[in-house]
Amino acid sequence: MTENTFFTEMKKGEVNELRSQLRNAGNEKDSVKIIEVVQKIISYMTLGIDVSPLFSEMVMVTNTRDMIQKKLVYLYLCNYAEKNPELTLLCVNTLQKDCRDDNPIVRGLALRSICSLRLPNIVEYVLPFVLKGLVDVSPYVRKTAVMGCGKVFAVSPNAIMGQDVQLIDKLYAMLRDKDPQVVINTICTLNEILSEDGGMTVNSQIAQYFLTRLKDFNEWGQGIILEEIAAKYTPQADEEIFDILNLLDERLKHTNSAVVLATVKVFLKLTEGMKNIHMQVFERVKASLLTLMEGSEHPETSYGLLCHILLLIQKLKNLSDGTITLYADQYKHFFPLYNETLFIKQIKIKVLAEIVIPQNVADVVSELREHVSSGDVVLSKLAVQSIGDIGIKMPSVAGFILSTILDLLRLDVDYIYHACFLVLRDFHRVYPESAEKTVT
């Protein structure tokens, strides 16, 4: 029997039926039946049907050796605990027992669930287990315990910040744990707890420690380290800056766009004080970003990269007073393709408008022309607008742009007319002498 059959229609009163089913199955200690009923309850919960009246019955079946049943029951409890604070106390006993189980996966699951209960009145029960979990022999339990600190803090900040607990110091010490995932979770938790003070303090010891060990972490960990540590660290000496730049250079070749972008962020932030190097950074990173954008199978990731590329182009233009245009030679890569998603096409057109230089303006404008007759109203208008913007920014091609716009009028389509007239109006403000040509 597939689980799909659970999603059939529900009649009123079925909740009561479930209650009696669960109670019977629990009394008979029929584990197969219990699981069936529990799965049914969870499927109703997924559909949005309120099954909270079954709380006390669910508490009774928490005691089991079956992992899947355990996970489902804990899921239910975490969902509805806030509505039943007194009843939750009953299941705390079982959770505490599981926190002492031999199997680290069971310990981790229990710890994760008990921390997600989000009830202030059980925090005093939770905290001892979190503290014990921090020094557990298994890294799986340790990493869950570290995250647990963050969860408990969200419910009851005082418990964590209490003097006798000295949790913050313990967490700082755990930054040197042998296991990478524990360390990453520690960084995240410290930043959560200390967010009002601006996050965890990053001194040069910590920064050095992590930057040299960057390769030991998986891609998510690397992203977090780069964001939280490298981007927040201010090195003392110039040499240190160059050391860090060299160390992180190879991250630009990573397949994960988040890691590459975080590296770019670090580079830019570190070189803010040194104008020349800062501008060189843009040149250094442009190839990696372009490859990622082209090679990405997913439009959303490309979109994120394109937004950043646009930002970098604009930034460099400002810094160099308009002399350096990034990607001007690779303009062809930003030609929108016919079957791409709309939001990608839109942002590519925006990028094209920013990277025109006299050498490529003819090609770019003819490409934008193609998209005026693309069929999508917003896209056509944007294309016409961009052509106009190019003409205004580059006086040398004003004549060419003007004849292009006048040509577009011949297409004889409403919304293109509107867009063209708007452009012509702006054009004449900037170039009054073109008015004559337009009238004829």
Binding site: E3, Q181, V413
Partner: protein
């Protein structure tokens, strides 16, 4: 970080939700349904409503939405969402749609619980997750598992070489390399190549025992220039090297070594994985050339003559060649004549679809069509947007960029022999010719 993840279908119904933090209200799903799914005009994969951000991807008819109230790293969230979808696909045998999720909702909950804790990504690697989250029917019986095996799994979940367990054994040690190149072409109506590039993926299937160290060599121009300059050779060897614009690697490749001496050395994960992606724009050998002539005669007829020429060795064949020639929306009837393959007008695809099963090298095929349009009585003249002619094809044992695997060395303590296979394939990425 991420406060919640929702899986919604096209109608906006929530299939599965997992809430990691309690800083969002239960009504967020409704808000998303109204603002995004309901509006049908999706201009960005990120939507900000008040101080809540919705980052979503659209996959197989399902919206996977991540909700956050913090200034979260957008690209990281998209990568996480895509990784979640990939993991589900590998558990559900490739299917990722409404039915698959409903059928395996227990597994979905387990996976979502394990992959993200408090909204932060933990271990999202398929092989490791499969070790201790088994399929719905198989129940993990922890008391029967030996303690050491359990410990090993734990180290895998959290350790540094999280992509490979230390004691894998295979009877036959084999390694398969698949170089899959996607050629992208954009040609203008006048016949100029507006842009052409190749983005390629090198996929590997490793069935090797132990912890082997592999070294991979290709005909990369930078490396070969270095080699030829270091030799005291007088003869300037004509290198058939290719200039690679950019490369990205799997997380198992030692990036430092690549930077210093362009060697790709790695300890591969077991099974199938993507070793590297690279991109070239120079010296691309376009496998097919399309010469279209499309004329609109008045408002009632369009005449097309499309010639396709193959540009590779006559001993090789292109397979699965499909050429789609677009026609205006108000097409009535097409009279088609072609010198090879089968061509048919498909109204649901708004064009003529021309299929050629085998396309030998150095040959030329032509298609002639007369498209009759229905008379339209509309007052406003609608411009035919003239979509480009697109082409799909696969040419085995051919690389458009000229990429070549020079060597693959496998070194392991027990010094076994490995059987190596290399296959090349060039397929069409976005191959379009404007008309």
């Amino acid at each position: 970080m991420i406060s919640a993840i929702f899986f919604m279908n096209q109608k906006g119904e929530v299939l599965i939700s997992r809430i990691y933090r309690d800083d969002i209200s239960r009504g967020v799903a409704n808000a998303f349904r109204l603002e995004v799914i309901g509006s049908k005009d999706q201009r960005s994969p990120i939507k900000n409503i008040g101080s809540t951000s919705f980052l979503y991807i659209h996959c197989g008819g399902i919206y996977v939405v991540a909700v956050s109230r913090q200034n979260v790293d957008a690209c990281m969230v998209f990568e996480i969402l895509h990784r979640i979808v990939d993991i589900f696909k590998s558990y559900f045998d490739g299917a990722f749609d409404e039915d698959a999720i409903r059928n395996h909702f227990v597994l979905t909950y387990e996976l979502l619980d394990e992959m993200l804790d408090f909204g932060y990504a933990q271990n999202c690697s398929t092989d490791v997750l499969k070790l201790y989250i088994t399929q719905g029917q198989g129940k993990l019986r922890p008391e029967k598992m030996k303690q050491e095996k359990l410990n090993k799994i734990i180290v895998q979940v959290t350790g540094a070489t999280s992509w490979r367990t230390p004691d894998i054994k295979h009877r036959r040690n084999e390694i398969y390399i698949d170089v899959v190149e996607s050629v992208n072409l954009l040609m203008s109506a006048e016949g100029n190549v507006l842009r052409s590039d190749v983005s390629a993926v090198v996929q590997m299937k490793c069935f090797l025992s132990g912890m082997p160290e592999c070294k991979f060599g290709m005909n990369d121009k930078v490396l070969m220039d270095k080699e030829s300059s270091s030799r005291q050779g007088a003869v300037r060897r004509k290198s058939n090297a290719i200039e690679i614009d950019d490369i990205t690697f799997h997380q198992c490749v030692k990036l430092g070594k690549f930077d210093t001496d362009r060697t790709i050395s790695f300890i591969p994960p077991d099974g199938e994985f993507e070793l590297m992606k690279y991109r070239t724009t120079e010296n691309i050998n376009l496998p097919f050339k399309i010469l279209p002539i499309v004329k609109e005669i008045g408002r009632s007829r369009v005449e097309c003559a499309i010639t396709v020429k193959s540009n590779f060795n006559s001993k090789m064949f292109g397979t699965g060649v499909v050429i789609r020639i677009p026609t205006p929306k108000n097409t009535a009837v097409c009279h088609i004549m072609c010198t090879a393959g089968k061509a048919k007008y498909m109204p649901d695809q708004d064009g003529i679809v021309w299929r050629i099963r085998r396309f030998p090298g150095d040959t030329e095929y032509t298609l002639r069509a007369e498209v009759e349009l229905m008379a339209t009585v509309s007052l406003e003249k609608k411009v035919w947007s003239r979509p480009p002619i697109t082409m799909e094809f696969q040419v085995p044992m051919f690389t458009a960029s000229g990429f070549h695997v020079r060597f693959l060395k496998v070194v392991e303590k027990s010094n076994y022999d490995t059987i190596k296979w290399v296959r090349y394939l060039t397929k069409a990425g976005n191959y379009s010719v404007r008309i």
